[in-house]
């Protein structure tokens, strides 16, 4: 999709009408993941096609900065290929494998986790292992934080490198709602007495699916079946109570459940307009970022449900047929650096949560990450430590399909 830095129009015209679309200038080069300085050399002059979700302007601007820095320091041309859904990227890689394209993949690096990673790993569509060879990998302290090596219960096996953390948080506008509900069940009670104050994005939007997972985890009391591959029987058994819950919840939602917002951004807009007083997000800093830009009023507060909420790590992976593997690895390593992670966590730039283990840093490095914690609109670190584990990736598409089946036509 749209590129980070479009080349000048003249060059573009030249390329369009003169060069063939299939020109390939790369030769297969031997990649030694252990020799980092050789990789840096190989990476010079390469272009990295980085497929990442493009729906959030802040991320796009941050990646702009990353591109400029990579250009200056490593002579790497980073192109942010905006995708609406990671599934598209997975399909493209699958299609390229089917077409026999094993060396000229159109994607060099992708932002991925969960069922998409599981699918790629299972079908041996990823290059690696390479992640733990990165000089910056030690910063995440994987021994203390095993989630750095595990993606929704599936081991990463060094096939992907951590990039950002996320956690499901709820936020409310304290001028309309002072004591927000602290459990999924409490949400139903409250919504019933205060109809039209809450809604969630329509699955299969990522946030909507996450709400379903959170709900099913709480309602089923962390049923162990959720952490194993899904089967029809288990699915029926575990989700019956979920559908009962949703059947009761939907009529109390905004627009009586006849319309669900499309995304987290739209949900934010609804709160900004005063249409709802409770919303959710997958970026713990989302509310605070929006308060700073004026999108949300300063009465907004973020919190984590009493029993904990789903949290995960999202990663960067390299397809097996990537043309520019060296540059991709340098890029991933840079994104994992203190400098890049600090800037990412700064609400003025991306406002994400870092994967680096801050406590292990020295004082001056630690300072770079100080921008967030004391803001009123943010959830406290203590709250954020209340984490629930993600269910097995196979549950997500199953839940989405079932939701669409039940609620698409009212």
């Amino acid at each position: 999709m749209a590129q980070l830095r479009p080349s000048s129009p003249l060059i573009r015209i030249f390329l369009l009408f003169v060069l063939l679309p299939h020109s390939s200038l790369t030769t297969a080069q031997a990649i030694d993941v252990a020799d980092w300085s050789a990789l840096k050399q190989q990476a010079r002059g390469q272009t990295v096609y980085f497929n990442a979700w493009g729906g959030e302007p802040r991320i796009n601007s941050y990646l702009n900065w990353v591109a400029q820095t990579l250009e200056q320091r490593f002579d790497i041309n980073l192109q942010h290929v905006k995708v609406a859904d990671t599934g598209e990227t997975v399909s493209k890689i699958v299609a390229e494998r089917q077409a026999g394209n094993d060396t000229n993949g159109s994607i060099d690096l992708l932002w991925v986790n969960g069922e998409n990673f599981a699918a790629l790993k299972q079908n041996k569509l990823l290059f690696g292992p390479w992640a733990e060879e990165q000089p910056n990998f030690s910063l995440v302290n994987a021994d203390r934080f095993p989630e750095m090596r595990e993606d929704f219960t599936v081991p990463t096996d060094g096939l992907e490198s951590p990039w950002t953390r996320s956690q499901l948080v709820f936020y409310h506008d304290s001028q309309w709602l002072v004591e927000p509900p602290q459990t999924i069940a409490a949400i139903l009670d409250w919504s019933t007495s205060n109809p039209g104050e809450f809604t969630y994005p329509r699955p299969p939007a990522f946030l909507g699916s996450t709400f379903l997972k959170q709900a099913v985890l709480e309602i089923s009391n962390n049923d162990p079946a959720l952490f194993a591959p899904v089967t029809d029987d288990e699915f029926q058994r575990v989700t019956t109570a979920l559908w009962d819950y949703l059947d009761a919840l939907h009529p109390t939602l905004l627009r009586a459940g006849r319309y669900f917002p499309n995304s987290a951004a739209e949900l934010r807009r609804l709160m900004g307009d005063g249409e709802i007083s409770l919303a959710l997000a997958f970026n713990p800093n989302e509310a605070l970022l929006s308060v700073r830009t004026g999108e949300l009023p300063d009465t907004v507060r973020t919190y984590v449900l009493q029993g904990g909420t789903i949290g995960n790590v999202s990663f960067l992976a390299i397809p097996y047929n990537a043309q520019h593997k060296a540059a991709a690895m340098i890029t991933a390593n840079f994104l994992l650096s203190i400098e890049a992670q600090a800037r990412a966590s700064d609400p003025n730039h991306m406002g994400s949560t870092t994967v680096i283990s801050i406590e292990d840093l020295d004082a001056s490095a630690r300072q770079q990450f100080d921008s967030v914690s004391t803001d009123l609109a943010a959830a406290s670190l203590e709250e954020l430590s209340r984490k629930l584990q993600e269910p097995h990736p196979s549950w997500t598409p199953a839940l989405e399909r079932a939701w669409i089946q039940r609620y698409s036509a009212r």
Binding site: Q3, I13, G87, E88
Partner: protein, 559 residues
């Protein structure tokens, strides 16, 4: 050479569309080698009819397909009946052409930002008139039965049908007929309805059918204003087509064929209605009453156009305020501060799509113009009258875009071609061609033949007189046709989206993609950019001739 060009025009118009429609049907019955499937099967249809809410989707598409032209045409006719020749009419006629260049997506966004519970209209009347401190929980935009969609479509199609009617009216000698009717005692509005309308309708039937097809199969307007649970059929087909799971392609193919059927049914319903109304009209005509309904028709007619204009103006205002708004809490009627931050933020994202948009629209329109000019010149030189190309011209407007575009894509996938810019330009060419032809042909055919005769007597060859006499004399109509063609190309969504496989971005595709996520401010910025582009084109069409012919008083009058 000339004949070749004009024959290729016909080929270009008809072949891909008919071929595309045919080919779209193949995956519907299981034939799709790229996915490894070549056995005939009706599996896709079974899956299609299992889709939840399919009936509702189909019904909504059908209803919009029939109600949009019904209401739009009624309003247009009532307007013409009640306001022809008045001062109001003078204003309206000047505004109609530019109004048409307001791209669908931008208009839909503007409308959404106007009528939503937290939209401009609501903010203006709150909290003073309504006492609302928070927006009401009413489902307006994206309502389940597609009323917002209908509203948005009507607002867009009324100017279109008005323009088509105005173009067709002169040949009916309306003033003369009305005078005769009035001397027989008929009140003016009734007179128009009884005496002009029956003759005018057949002349605008084709555009009306184009409206039916568009309304029943639109994707971009439905994405912005239409229902979501479930969406219209065309939106669902698009989502199946875009789904990463390639197996859904079969479903998409079946769905697009169903869409074709639905549009055909809508047209059939319309034709039946036409006959019914025709019958009723004849009774009414024969009944001979001259007064009943005059006031009602008059009021609605006079009120219709200004209302539509106000809605469009309101939509534009909504876009403008949102594009420059600082923090803006409901229920304030205006933002607390103004800012250009949203523009600054979008600048870098705008450049690539803007470049593509201009490149694609200029290329496709220029190509279209060349083909049209070649056809018209060939027609002129052969001395034969208007060819039967006319109905072929309307093909892209008579078959739902999603059907034949899908077919063209399947064709390219069979052939192993990659989506690229040339394909997108070709797709745009298909849609631009009818409009360029319509807008340019009259001027071309009406050009005083004596100019070319004089040139011949002075020894100029056909080629020389074409380039040195005809073309310069037609500069203003050429630029207008270019402006219209570019406006059409700029507003296209589906051809770019499908033929470009999502990799070629234009202002329109990006703006529509933003519907699902971005802030109103960002969307407004994009919508305004989208609607400014055609304005630039029309400004050029207006001022370039004035500039070039500034020392040629004989040219300024030439229209």
């Amino acid at each position: 050479m000339l004949r070749w060009a004009s024959h290729s025009l016909i080929f270009l118009l008809a072949a891909p569309i008919l071929l595309g429609t045919f080919i779209a049907s193949l995956p519907a019955f299981g034939y799709f080698p790229p996915l490894g499937s070549s056995d005939f099967s009706v599996e896709a249809w079974r899956k299609l009819f299992d889709v939840p809410g399919l009936t509702r989707s189909v019904l909504i598409s059908l209803i919009s397909g029939v109600l949009t032209p019904l209401i739009s045409l009624t309003l247009v006719f009532l307007y013409l009946a009640s306001a022809t020749g008045s001062k109001l009419d003078l204003w309206i006629r000047r505004l109609v052409s530019p109004l048409l260049s307001f791209p669908h997506a931008a208009a839909a966004f503007g409308l959404a930002f106007l009528i939503a519970p937290s939209g401009l209209f609501s903010r203006i009347i709150s909290s003073g008139l309504t006492g609302w401190e928070r927006p009401p929980d009413i489902l307006i935009v994206n309502d389940t039965w597609g009323l917002s969609l209908l509203f948005g479509l009507i607002v867009k199609e009324v100017p279109f049908l008005l323009l088509m009617s105005l173009a067709a009216l002169p040949q009916l000698q309306p003033r003369y007929r009305i005078e005769v009717a009035r001397t027989l005692g008929y009140r003016p509005t009734i007179a128009w309805l009884k005496v002009i309308a029956p003759s005018l309708y057949p002349l605008v039937r084709l555009p009306v059918i184009a409206v039916i097809v568009f309304a029943s199969a639109t994707v971009d307007v439905a994405l912005i204003l239409g229902p979501t649970l479930p969406p219209t059929l065309s939106v669902r087909v698009l989502s199946w087509f875009n789904d990463p799971d390639l197996n859904l392609r079969f479903l998409a193919a079946a769905g697009s064929l169903l869409q074709l059927v639905v549009s055909l049914i809508a047209v059939a319903i319309w034709l039946v209605l036409e006959k019914l109304v025709g019958l009723l009209w004849r009774f009414w005509l024969a009944a001979g009453n001259r007064n009943t309904g005059e006031s009602l028709a008059f009021v609605i007619g006079r009120g219709a156009m200004p209302t539509v204009l106000m809605v469009i103006a309101g939509s534009l205002l909504a876009l403008l305020t949102n594009a420059f708004a600082g923090p803006w809490r409901f229920p304030s009627a205006a933002p607390s501060s103004w800012t250009i931050q949203h523009w600054a933020n979008s600048l870098s994202d705008l450049s690539a799509p803007l470049f593509n948009t201009v490149l694609i629209s200029v290329s496709s329109t220029l190509l279209a113009l060349i083909l049209v000019a070649a056809t018209l010149e060939s027609e002129r030189q052969s001395g034969k009258g208007k060819s039967t190309v006319m109905w072929l011209l309307y093909l892209p407007l008579l078959i739902p875009q999603i059907v034949f575009l899908f077919g063209i894509i399947v064709l390219t996938e069979f052939a192993g071609w990659q989506a690229n810019l040339s394909l997108v330009i070709f797709g745009h060419l298909l849609f631009v061609l009818p409009y360029v032809f319509l807008s340019f042909s009259e001027a071309y055919r009406q050009l005083d033949p004596r100019w070319t005769q004089v040139a011949s007597t002075l020894g100029a060859s056909q080629l020389k007189s074409f380039w040195q006499i005809r073309i310069p004399l037609l500069l203003a109509p050429i630029l207008t046709a270019l402006a219209i063609g570019m406006a059409i190309s700029i507003s296209l969504f589906l051809p770019t989206q499908l033929l470009g496989a999502g990799r070629i971005t234009t202002i329109t595709t990006e703006a529509v993609a933003l519907t699902s996520g971005a802030s109103r401010n960002l969307i407004s910025v994009w919508a305004i950019v989208q609607l400014s582009l055609p304005i630039v084109g029309f400004m050029m069409a207006l001022f370039i001739p004035k500039f070039i012919w500034r020392n040629r008083s004989g040219m300024i009058d030439t229209r």
